[in-house]
């Protein structure tokens, strides 16, 4: 009885509202909502009774006979726990959307309610005829609702949909005729017993019907047009009612199709996923993007149907599709249907984030759990298939991130657009908590995934310390920026937990949370869209590589071979090495400066941690030399780029990538010295890059610009910031007595010890080029002439100054007593198995290898002594010099025209450019641009399938049908 209520209550409501709708709109809407709520309650009761939420409840069944006769003359509905849960989503989606859609276009409530009933009916239907009825009704209602509202474009879309529906109906009826003729039954499950050519024919027909209906590539063309053109509020309702119903009906159908080889489904799906998403890569229309995303989920359904069976299949399909549909509904609800060109124009990317991240399956959202389980299954069947799926998913994430990051609108003032969306978001969040809690693979923070010891504790200290010290400044964003503090904290906590994670899954989840919290933090910048997009894409790519490695190596973070390669690639991407600096530069320069400090100083160390810990040294060994070369060339190239760049934050970004090149070099050497150098430099880099970026944060907060050409002379206004920056610059330039020299010394010792002289030369050259940008940075920002518009500039805020002070204190301590760190670091590194080479000897304050020696303390004392002597001698040897004004310079007797004109900052190293001019300018952006262009061209081929003409789409369906039937025919004896 409850079942009947659950299904037919909306229909009842439809009759009622049909009568009411033109008499009293508000009452009609209220009644619609009441009926939907009642239906929801009923379906919840059913779901509870079936025990759907508990384990194994998905397969419990409840049959509802609506008539005295048997099907097809009556409507028999079979409710399983699985479909009951889906039905909940149908109700929720309808409830969320009805107010927006029907409220705007009156008179649509009866149709909406009927659509809900039809959707439920289709999900629960057990035989072909019933299904046919529901499909027909559903299609007609869809067409009707699409055309609702007086708009020519909607009519076009409706017409296309109608044409496609017509074809689907024909093909479907053909299939039904054959089934009935062969088996004498109309039960859906009857076809699984079919054999021979009829089976092939039916499979072909039904598969075409299914692919068209669920919009799987290459039959997704009409779906793209549909999502692009349709009223976005209707799309919201449609996504989680009819679209979901069709998906789940297809999910049931696909398991019973008498295919000669179910694996073919997976192949079609994987191919469709990669090619279809490739076509979508360049998409800029948000509606169409959602269409592509739908097509991706359709492909996933095909893959699942071809590979997974039983309870896994049920739970996976449920997780994937219900949450994806709900997310899509939420996204569509945020659109403003009055805006024809870009309905999401006024939405800030920030609010779109939750549903979009859910769609792309970023942990901890439910789709992630489905994704990782799917990948695990696929990895066992065929790693190639898994690779294809990951590639396709990555493509999908690219345009989804674009959708999100290109929304730069301010927070929407009109709350009414968002009531429903917030509800959706809340439901998603609830679902997230629920699935994460019930996830089969547990998360654990207490395992022995990473060797406890000094090195791990050092990284722990870096993560925790970096987060804590970057945080104070983040509470107040710079000019035009919003505060990234919350997201920095989330990211930082995830990072801090990283070394403690107990299994690979935990590591991955923390990694992704940290990365995407950081992405959101970056989006708080003054002009965020570009940086956010690139960061998201590269973080996504690194995440997918890590995921692939994780799945392939069965939960261990990595093991030798391909998984190690993937991990190394992920780490390189994360650190911006080997050309991946594109994201660093864009993200750091557009992010709030404190966020950049956190990213560069702290977050990038996660990749070092991954490399140092994920791999046993033996695993890295085969990659060693290549890694070292990548590191060296990156260090050199980025240093050169940094010298020629004239944006404060971009320079720091290049410098950051360049410095991390040394770390990669050290790790690539796989010797004790090399790793000591790498980890020591990691710590150093953590210190001085945090100082530099925090200093930049202070400068930008006070002056409002990061352009070298408009800065200068700030030492007179911000002496403390200058001091800290100076110290860290001297440190990273590697000039003794500050700590940067230590890492260089260790590195060169390691390089010469391994006999890698060419590498040492490149490193040496890179470190000399580092002087170029090091000086330019100090000069262009702090020295030279102070522009009059900066006369009123004050010292940087305490919130960024104090952390810099702390960092500087640590840096100075480390400079004069490096043994404080090395005393513990050297034995810890020496105990890592598989590292060759000699172990440096520490005696007192001196460090020595068989090659050379270095005593930081006595060097420091000597410098201090001589400098102090010179200073005192100057002080006592005569009169004090007179401090003159900034324009009191020997300017050939002239009065300098203005400080700005005397300040020489633009194109500072022009001869460098000139000297390099005969070399072809190698820009990573060109290489990446080439890749993108190639992908675009390839995508164009497939994009050209979607002409926007419904007749073409019909033709596609027919072609696919023919090809499939011929193919399967050829496959069977």
């Amino acid at each position: 009885m409850v079942t009947a209520l659950a299904v037919f209550l909306p229909l009842l409501g439809a009759f009622l509202t049909a009568w009411l709708t033109h008499r009293n709109e508000r009452l009609s809407l209220l009644i619609t909502r009441l009926f939907l709520l009642a239906g929801l309650a009923a379906i919840l009761v059913i779901a509870a009774r079936l025990g759907a939420v508990t384990d194994g409840g998905l397969e419990n069944t409840m049959i509802l006979r609506t008539g005295v006769m048997t099907p097809p003359l009556s409507i028999d509905l079979k409710v399983t726990g699985w479909s009951a849960l889906a039905a909940v989503v149908v109700y929720v989606g309808a409830l969320l959307g009805v107010g927006r859609f029907s409220g705007r276009i009156p008179g649509t409530q009866p149709l909406l309610l009927t659509l809900v009933t039809t959707s439920l009916g289709l999900m629960f239907a057990t035989d072909f005829f019933n299904s046919f009825v529901f499909i027909e009704i559903g299609s007609i209602i869809t067409i009707g609702l699409t055309a609702a509202g007086r708009c020519r474009r909607r009519w076009e879309v409706a017409l296309k949909t109608a044409m496609i529906s017509g074809l689907v109906t024909i093909l479907y009826l053909l299939a039904v005729v054959i089934v009935y003729r062969t088996t004498g039954e109309l039960r859906l499950t009857a076809i699984s017993t079919m054999t021979g050519f009829p089976a092939i024919l039916v499979s072909g027909l039904l598969l075409t019907v299914i692919m068209t209906e669920i919009k799987a590539f290459p039959l997704s063309g009409w779906g793209l047009d549909f999502y692009q053109g349709v009223d976005k509020n209707f799309a919201a309702v449609y996504s989680s009612t009819w679209s979901l119903a069709v998906l789940l009906w297809s999910a049931r159908m696909l398991t019973v199709l008498p295919l000669p080889d179910p694996g073919v489904l997976a192949r079609i799906g994987a191919g469709g996923l990669v090619l279809g998403q490739l076509a979508g890569l360049r998409q800029r229309d948000p509606g169409r993007m959602m269409g592509y995303s739908t097509s991706a989920y359709a492909s996933i359904l095909l893959i699942l149907a071809g590979t997974v069976h039983g309870a896994d299949y049920l739970s996976l399909t449920l997780l994937f599709f219900t949450f994806a549909s709900l997310s899509k509904t939420t996204v569509f609800l945020m659109a403003d249907p009055e805006e024809e060109d870009d309905p999401w124009k006024k939405v800030s990317g920030y609010v779109l984030l939750l549903p979009l991240l859910c769609i792309t399956g970023i942990p901890p959202f439910p789709v992630f759990w489905a994704k990782i389980r799917m990948l695990t299954v696929l990895a066992d069947i065929s790693p190639l298939l898994m690779g294809a799926v990951i590639l396709g998913l990555f493509f999908e994430s690219v345009y989804i991130y674009r959708l999100w990051s290109s929304r730069t609108g301010p927070w929407q003032k009109k709350r009414k657009y968002f009531d429903a969306a917030f509800m959706g978001a809340a439901l998603l969040a609830a679902g997230t908590v629920w699935t994460a809690a019930g996830a089969e693979q547990g998360l654990s923070l207490s395992g022995e995934l990473f060797r406890a010891g000094f090195v791990r504790d050092l990284f722990l200290a870096i993560f925790a310390g970096g987060t804590l010290l970057s945080l104070p400044g983040a509470f107040r964003g710079g000019p035009g920026e919003k505060s990234p503090a919350v997201w920095m904290l989330v990211s930082g906590v995830a990072l801090t937990l990283l070394p403690l994670s107990g299994n690979g899954l935990t590591f991955y989840v923390l990694w992704e949370i940290s990365a995407f919290a950081a992405v959101i933090g970056v989006s708080k910048g003054a002009r965020p869209s570009e940086g956010t997009f690139w960061f998201a894409v590269f973080a996504g790519a690194a995440g997918y590589l890590l995921l692939a490695s994780l799945v392939l190596s069965d939960g261990a973070v990595s093991s030798p071979g391909i998984p190690m390669l993937l991990v190394a690639a992920a780490a390189l991407l994360k650190m911006g090495q080997g050309g991946a600096h594109l994201w660093n530069v864009r993200a750091y320069s557009t992010a709030p400066s404190t966020m950049a400090a956190f990213l560069s100083g702290t977050s990038s160390k996660a990749a070092v941690f991954l490399l140092v810990f994920s791999a046993s040294a033996a695993a890295i060994l085969p990659l060693g030399t290549s890694l070292a070369w990548i590191g060296a060339l990156t260090a050199l190239g980025m240093a050169a780029m940094a010298s020629l760049e004239s944006d404060y934050k971009k320079v720091l970004a290049y410098a950051s990538v360049s410095q991390l090149g040394y770390v990669i070099m050290g790790i690539g050497l796989t010797s004790v010295l090399g790793w000591t150098a790498a980890i020591y430099h990691t710590f150093n880099h953590f210190l001085f890059k945090s100082i530099l970026f925090l200093g930049a944060a202070g400068v930008i907060a006070r002056t409002g610009t990061s352009d070298y050409d408009s800065l200068g002379g700030l030492v007179k206004r911000m002496p403390l910031t200058f001091t800290f920056t100076l110290i860290s610059v001297i440190a990273f330039a590697g000039v003794p007595p500050l700590s940067g020299f230590g890492s260089k010394w260790l590195l060169y010792n390691a390089l010469v010890e391994q006999g890698m002289l060419p590498l040492a030369l490149v490193a040496m050259f890179a470190s000399v080029v580092a002087f170029l940008y090091a000086f330019r940075l100090l000069y262009a920002v702090f020295l030279g002439q102070l522009a009059p518009r900066h006369y009123e500039v004050k010292e940087a805020p305490l919130a960024v100054l104090a952390p810099q002070g702390v960092f500087t204190a640590v840096l100075m301590a480390l400079s004069f007593r490096p043994t404080l760190l090395l005393d513990r670091l050297v034995p810890a590194v020496a105990s890592i198995a598989g590292l060759g080479g000699e172990i440096p000897v520490i005696e007192g304050t001196a460090l020595s290898t068989s090659l050379g020696y270095w005593d930081a303390w006595s060097v420091g004392m000597m410098v201090m002594g001589v400098f102090g002597f010179a200073f005192v001698f100057y002080w006592i040897s005569g009169r004090r010099p007179i401090h003159v004004g900034q324009l009191d310079i020997g300017f050939a007797g002239e009065l300098p025209p203005s400080p700005e004109e005397v300040h020489y900052a633009g194109d500072f190293f022009r001869p460098f450019r000139r000297a390099l001019a005969f070399l072809p300018e190698i820009h990573a952006s060109k290489v990446f641009g080439g890749i993108v262009k190639t992908a675009d061209l390839a995508g164009d081929v497939f994009r050209s399938l979607f002409t926007g003409d419904a007749r073409t789409y019909l033709l596609h369906s027919l072609i696919i049908l023919t090809v499939m039937i011929l193919w399967m025919k050829g496959g069977t004896p």
Binding site: H883, Q886, L887, D888, G893, L895
Partner: protein, 187 residues
């Protein structure tokens, strides 16, 4: 943007090294390489092997900050005078001025020009005048030797005079430089 300090009056309080200082100053005269008038062309031969001024320790410095001697080489227009004042004041003490040619003494052949000063002494303190139009390099060297002699005897105190009588010089300078926009003292 400019330092607005007025220089202190010079004081002689160091007697111990004075002799040595004067000797060193006399034998290490660095010139500001700044051609103020036509006579600058006559300075070039001083570098050459024929005249070789380096044997007296005289060298050209391209910046007033590092030099000791400013050579006013010939006629001085009002416009140039302004630059000369700035350059002269930017030279660190002790500093000397060597004036070449008749124009610097009494206006020379430009005595009736609307734009050329007649008597240099009124605007900046000259230590040695070298007569001639233009003086030959030998004459210039002779002037240098005279300057060295004066320095050794402690008589080349134009810079002290200038600082002591800054108001007088300023008054004269401002009288003829109409768009006076120099700071109080050109540090």
């Amino acid at each position: 943007m400019y330092c607005n300090k007025i220089p202190d009056k010079p004081v002689d309080n160091e007697k111990i090294w004075k002799k040595l200082d004067d000797l060193a100053r006399a034998n290490s005269l660095w010139i500001t390489a700044y051609g103020t008038g036509c006579g600058a062309i006559e300075l070039r031969p001083l570098h050459t092997s024929r005249f070789d001024m380096e044997r007296f320790g005289i060298a050209m410095r391209p910046t007033p900050r590092q030099s000791d001697v400013l050579i006013i080489s010939g006629y001085l227009s009002v416009k140039t005078l302004k630059r000369v004042i700035r350059v002269y004041e930017q030279i660190q003490d002790p500093k000397y001025i060597l004036a070449l040619g008749s124009c610097t003494i009494d206006g020379g052949m430009y005595f009736d020009s609307y734009n050329t000063i007649n008597i240099l002494d009124r605007y900046i303190p000259v230590d040695v005048y070298v007569n001639g139009c233009m003086p030959r390099p030998e004459a210039v060297i002779d002037g240098f030797i005279l300057l060295m002699k004066k320095i050794k005897e402690g008589k080349a105190v134009g810079w002290k005079r200038y600082k002591e009588n800054l108001e007088y010089y300023r008054k004269n300078q401002r009288e003829i430089i109409r768009n006076w926009d120099l700071p109080d003292y050109n540090w």
